[in-house]
């Protein structure tokens, strides 16, 4: 028996060592400051162990975008889209999906492959749209914004399935006498999931940031067609603060807008307006400025284990539930100022609230599954205890704990998704300086001349690692 136990321990250790080759979530998130950033990007890019994972390409894409490498960021996003497309187009009865379902039902939450939640699936297109826009391809950016909206349809049908599945699981658990309607008191997310900012969200996958950006980008790509109006209305429905995104210059002698081209008068009618009545041409022409600030890193998913002693106390079982490490490196307020304007754009993207809302929506299903897993583990521990004694039971509990922890370590989400997004579109004078203040940092940008507009992307990765890119149009 000792030999057998030795073999099991060795196998577990080997497997642990094998699974520890990639850059883990915590290491990744603490290696983003300026001195470490380039090395982190290289390490992640050269890590071949996770290239079949959805989250790997999303994390890489964000870092590439934040380093100004928009072409490679697009390539990385495309890889993650391909993984998701493959998942969405699987056979109705897919052996992988069945295996994943059985694994997550009976063994560990980490047996499930992570294919992103609704907000991540939307935002990957939003961020990729910015890649295209920064390359000056606004039509390509508009394509990504349309994809963002379309991706939500699949999420909705998938969510419906999950709701049905959760109802079944709940009924099954309740039939067996388990309470799955209240959260375990030891669960760290209990208070957060009940926060008003989470409860008040309309849903977990539509964000006003994406819709507002969609409206702005579409209007730049197709200025004559007013295609962005629908997106803007959706954004306003989700968050009335969207109206604060847009600002115009106060009218003053130096900022008189360019006179519009005079409309041709109807046939047979002479235009009697004297030419002298036209407004004077401006001394300095104005332009549209759009500032996008993507700040911080969203909550990172983890599997939280709540352990319960069994029988004589020598064995135990675990309830494992998804939870989050909090967001990091975020910006609490952004202030944008020019000579004539001082703006505080609203925080339209709140990835943390969307992550918590998703978890809240899925919680009953997750808890039901966790109870089934815990029961299965308890039965195995009891069998081992009956056959091998108390020590055998303890070893079985430990083996299952270590085994599920290994699987859980690979259960990761888009940890480098921006946690906050601020958006502002305003008028400014060509050539003037725009100052953007974020927390205690202040960055300045001189506007170009002879252009209709400029889109400025601020990637705030950490307080000492901020990059500003722009594109003129």
């Amino acid at each position: 028996m000792v030999k057998r136990l030795h073999l099991v321990t060795c196998s577990l250790l080997c497997a642990l060592q094998l699974s520890a080759t990639s850059i883990d979530s915590n290491h990744l998130r603490v290696s983003l400051s300026k001195p470490q950033f380039d090395q982190t990007l290289i390490t992640l890019r050269e890590d071949t162990s996770d290239q079949d994972k959805f989250w790997y390409w999303l994390n890489l894409a964000r870092l590439q975008q934040a380093s100004g490498d928009f072409n490679n960021s697009i390539n990385s996003f495309e890889k993650s889209f391909a993984i998701l497309d493959e998942y969405e187009n699987r056979a109705k009865v897919s052996l992988r999906n069945v295996g994943s379902f059985l694994g997550s039902t009976f063994l560990s939450k980490g047996s499930e492959t992570y294919y992103g939640k609704g907000y991540e699936r939307s935002l990957m297109h939003t961020l990729n749209a910015l890649n295209y826009a920064m390359k000056g391809d606004f039509e390509g950016a508009a394509v990504e914004m349309r994809r963002m909206e379309q991706r939500q349809e699949f999420w909705l049908s998938e969510t419906e399935e999950k709701i049905k599945e959760a109802a079944k699981e709940k009924a099954k658990a309740e039939k067996e006498g388990n309470d799955v309607s209240s959260m375990p008191s030891e669960y760290s997310m209990a208070a957060m999931l009940d926060d008003p900012s989470v409860r008040n969200l309309a849903n977990s996958y539509q964000d006003p940031f994406s819709y507002t950006l969609s409206s702005i980008i579409t209007d730049i790509a197709f200025p004559d067609e007013k295609l962005g109006e629908v997106s803007l209305k959706r954004a306003l429905t989700l968050n009335p603060d969207v109206s604060k995104v847009f600002a115009k210059l106060p009218v003053s002698p130096t900022t008189i807008p360019m006179p519009e081209k005079r409309k041709p008068s109807p046939k047979g009618k002479k235009d009697s307006t004297p030419v002298a009545a036209q407004p004077q041409p401006p001394k300095v022409p104005k332009m549209d400025v759009t500032v996008v600030v993507l700040a911080g890193e969203a909550p990172a998913v983890k599997i939280e284990k709540v352990r319960f002693p069994l029988f004589n106390g020598a064995n135990y079982t675990t309830i494992d539930l998804p939870a989050f490490n909090p967001p990091i490196n975020d910006v609490s307020v952004v202030t944008i100022s020019t000579d004539k304007l001082r703006l505080q754009p609203p925080r339209l993207l709140q990835s943390n609230a969307m992550a918590y809302k998703t978890l809240k929506d899925e919680f009953v299903g997750e808890l039901s599954k966790a109870v089934v897993r815990a029961t299965a583990k308890a039965v195995i521990a009891k069998q081992a205890s009956d056959n091998f004694g108390a020590f055998g039971g303890l070893m079985a509990s430990l083996a299952m704990d270590v085994g599920s922890s290994m699987a859980d370590s690979g259960f990761r989400n888009w940890e480098l998704l921006p946690n906050s997004g601020y958006l502002s579109k305003f008028e400014a004078l060509q050539g003037e300086t725009v100052t953007i203040a974020m927390n205690d940092r202040q960055e300045s940008f001189t506007l170009p001349r002879d252009k209709k507009g400029v889109l400025i992307l601020v990637s705030y990765i950490t307080n000492d690692n901020i990059r500003i890119d722009h594109v003129e149009y």
Partner: protein, 205 residues
Amino acid sequence: MTTLTKLSLATTLLLSSFLMSGCATGGAGMVGASSNVKYGDAKAAETVTADFGSSDLQSTAEALTQSLLETRYIAKAQQPPKVRLRAVNNLTYEHIDTKAITDKIRIKLLKSGQVRFLADTANLNQVNAERDLTTTATTKTKMKAMTDSDYIITGNVRSIKKANDDVKDVYYNVSMELVDPQSGEILWADEKEIRKVTSKSSVGW
């Protein structure tokens, strides 16, 4: 410990390792080291995915060119009109290279000999720069002639996607218009519609 119990434990362990490791792998396809390259028929129907592909490009260009050449403004023109082909707007869910559509149409129209093409507005600066190098051979009148087109051709590609658990349906609509730039009158318009349906297999990996 009975043989049955041992077998049951072994099966549980095997299943566990399958579910924990095997199921966690994603589905990204990897291209193998060995590949097999062969030439295919450039005009054969391509059905790899439901995305806008080479077959769609060819059939669209063919249909719209034919329709355009049959319009009286071109077929019955005294002399081949000067046409400028504007970019086709991509209003779909895919990154379609719409320039490939306009290039294909331009080539087909030019080969017909029934129209003359002016440089794209995007290329106009380059053409002007080239002319500036040879100003002695250029007059302002000729410059004006280069910018005055008899007609302009514009277009849009749109798509509608619908999907349920079993079927994915994609509808493409490529529309083009021939416009008189002086009057703004739309002289001709036609469209090419494409519908692609993909269905999920019942059982698979």
